[in-house]
């Protein structure tokens, strides 16, 4: 064919003229750098997370005490879980805890962030100070608060008695009715700094122009907060809330150090329940079933989170 004839024929794109194998090689070559970028992370997660999870899933179908040979029992562990009042109690406590703790930390964090962003007196100090408890290890936080909350000689009750508020001096960690609330309180104490910092950054990101326009329009502080600040930081608010929920569902350390799941199993959460079943009762198979249940619950919530994020991003 002549040159013109060749040129006038429509030329199929290069990639369509390759076999699937050659296309794969091309894709790899073009994007090699990106694959290399993500490989270390993927490798670590597959080796140290995915593989063990698969093992855990399978261990849940056995009865095993660690020494005797495993005994395959199918879904019996899961059936038992469904009727185990201690598991259901732990589940209840965990869900309650995570919702309450998230509400508490995020609300308080929001209030603090808003206050600081409006340059209230001492803002620059608060900014640094309020995140401080987040940096204290949980075991230390737990041990400190156990002493502060000790009913006979602890700081809180001694202070209340001294201030004439004897009636308020409860047995904070010893009363099954309030122990969980106390733990929620300690969590709020420790972790409200985290949402605060994030929301503060988001609030300060609101452009100057918007703020100035609002000032010119003569809005009150309250209106500014509710109609400008909060709506504009909504996406961050939602993200941080969901993250807090996810992390709270996995809580273990605080309960273990402060109350060991007591009193009367009132602060038993899924994490402590799992630990007890595995290491104190030597029911490794059963404990793995608990782990699977936890994973499913959190997995579901993460999925919902993603949905929400997608919806929010679509709105923007």
């Amino acid at each position: 064919m002549t040159t013109t004839e060749v040129a006038s024929q429509p030329i199929a794109p290069y990639s369509n003229r390759l076999s699937w194998y050659q296309r794969l090689k091309k894709t790899l070559r073009d994007n090699l750098i990106w694959y290399l970028f993500v490989t270390p992370a993927i490798l670590l997660i597959i080796v140290f997370m995915v593989v063990p999870i698969i093992e855990a899933l399978s261990l849940a179908t056995y009865r095993w005490n660690g020494v005797r040979p495993r005994e395959f029992i199918g879904f019996e562990n899961f059936q038992d879980l469904g009727t185990d009042r201690f598991f259901l109690g732990a589940l209840q406590h965990t869900i309650f805890f995570s919702i309450a703790a998230t509400l508490g930390t995020v609300t308080l964090g929001l209030l603090l962030a808003v206050a600081i962003s409006r340059r209230v007196l001492g803002a620059s100090i608060y900014r640094v100070l309020f995140y401080l408890p987040v940096m204290v290890p949980i075991t230390v936080v737990g041990a400190l608060w156990v002493r502060i909350l000790e009913p006979n000689f602890g700081m809180l009750n001694t202070f209340l008695r001294g201030a004439g508020l004897e009636a308020l001096a409860e047995s904070w960690l010893g009363d099954a009715k309030i122990a969980l609330f106390v733990l929620i309180g300690v969590t709020i104490w420790q972790y409200s700094g985290f949402p605060m910092i994030v929301l503060l950054a988001a609030a300060e990101n609101i452009s100057e122009e918007v703020q100035e326009a609002a000032t010119l329009d003569g809005v009150s502080e309250w209106q500014r907060i509710t109609h400008i600040t909060i709506p504009l930081i909504r996406p961050v608010l939602i993200s941080i809330s969901v993250l807090q929920v996810i992390f709270s569902l996995k809580v273990f350390d605080l309960m273990w150090v402060m109350t060991r799941g007591g009193p009367g199993q009132s602060t038993d959460v899924l994490g402590t329940f799992l630990f007890d079943e595995a290491f104190f009762k030597r029911k490794y198979g059963y404990a793995s079933a608990v782990a699977v249940a936890m994973f499913v619950i959190i997995f579901t919530i993460t999925y919902i989170y993603q949905r929400i994020v997608r919806v929010e991003n679509a709105k923007l």
Partner: protein
């Protein structure tokens, strides 16, 4: 005149509340340090007294480590090594992955992103039992490298989320300029973007540093040799010498204070960087 108008009642209440909250936030931490300077009888009988002159006896005993099986320094060094290793590995892997997810439009990228987000859902406890035996087979149990690997993996999901969000809001022009100037993709990343991203590096470090330093669950399960053990294990299994029933609480507080101090120091040094990192639209 204008000043007085702004000094509304609401503002005063807000300030009072903030100051109260600041006191409440600070008190337990100060209480810890204060108590570590006192001895038990004083601790129990005069809970509000100031520990002055400070008694360093408890710190001395803790340092000697006669009740923890190993001297304090051993636990401290193990924790420090694991911490440094984990943070470095985390920074490298999460920024690489986060950057790739933010910038790279490569096939499978939505799946990879999905995968990382779902790994957030994995409760660490679920991994304990299988990891125990798995690490044993790999010969990584009872050894600091194994802990670094495990901790890095546990910290990856959140760190990648943070890194990706950050890089999404990083101005593309800078890298484009670098590419035009003849830099490779990796070169652009390593030599241009990363040095300018100190705030996210600080943020990722700070977010992970506390839990890695104070992690107890996995450490206690995987590290059975006392000379491999970390600080949280020493704190948790601390028992008074049978000779020292009257110094039990004081020593406990001393060891807690020693565990917390490095974190607080780190925070005060790097806190301005963290704020900048959070400002750059993290968590969008």
């Amino acid at each position: 005149m204008n000043r007085l108008r702004h000094l509304s009642l609401v503002k005063i209440i807000v300030v009072v509340v903030l100051v109260l909250w600041a006191i409440i936030e600070l008190y337990p931490i100060l209480f810890m340090f204060n108590t570590s300077f006192k001895l038990d009888p004083q601790i129990l009988n005069e809970p509000f007294s100031i520990g002055y002159p400070p008694s360093f006896e408890s710190y001395a005993r803790v340092w000697e480590g006669d009740q923890t099986g190993q001297p304090f320094l051993s636990y401290f060094m193990n924790s420090a090594i694991i911490l440094v290793g984990t943070i470095i590995l985390l920074l490298v892997t999460s920024t690489l992955a986060g950057y790739a997810l933010a910038r790279g439009r490569f096939p499978g990228s939505p799946w990879v992103q999905q995968g990382f987000l779902l790994s957030l859902a994995v409760p660490a406890h679920a991994l304990l039992i299988p990891l125990y035996f798995f690490l044993g087979n790999l010969g990584l149990r009872n050894n600091l490298l194994g802990m670094v690997m495990v901790y890095t993996t546990l910290g990856l999901p959140l760190s990648i989320v943070l890194a990706r969000a950050y890089f999404l809001s990083f101005p593309v022009e800078i890298e484009e300029q670098a590419l035009i100037d003849g830099c490779s993709q990796f070169g652009a990343f390593w030599r241009i973007v990363v040095p300018m991203s100190r705030s996210i590096l600080a943020t990722i470090a700070i977010v992970n540093i506390t839990w890695v330093w104070s992690e107890l669950f996995f450490a206690q399960a995987f590290l059975s040799d006392t000379d491999m053990q970390t600080l949280p294990i020493a704190v948790a299994s601390y028992r008074p010498a049978q000779m020292q029933a009257s110094a039990a609480i004081s020593q406990h507080f001393a060891i807690m204070a020693l565990t917390t101090l490095p974190l607080l120091i780190f925070y005060f040094v790097f806190q301005s960087h963290i704020r900048k990192g959070m400002t750059a639209g993290a968590l969008r």
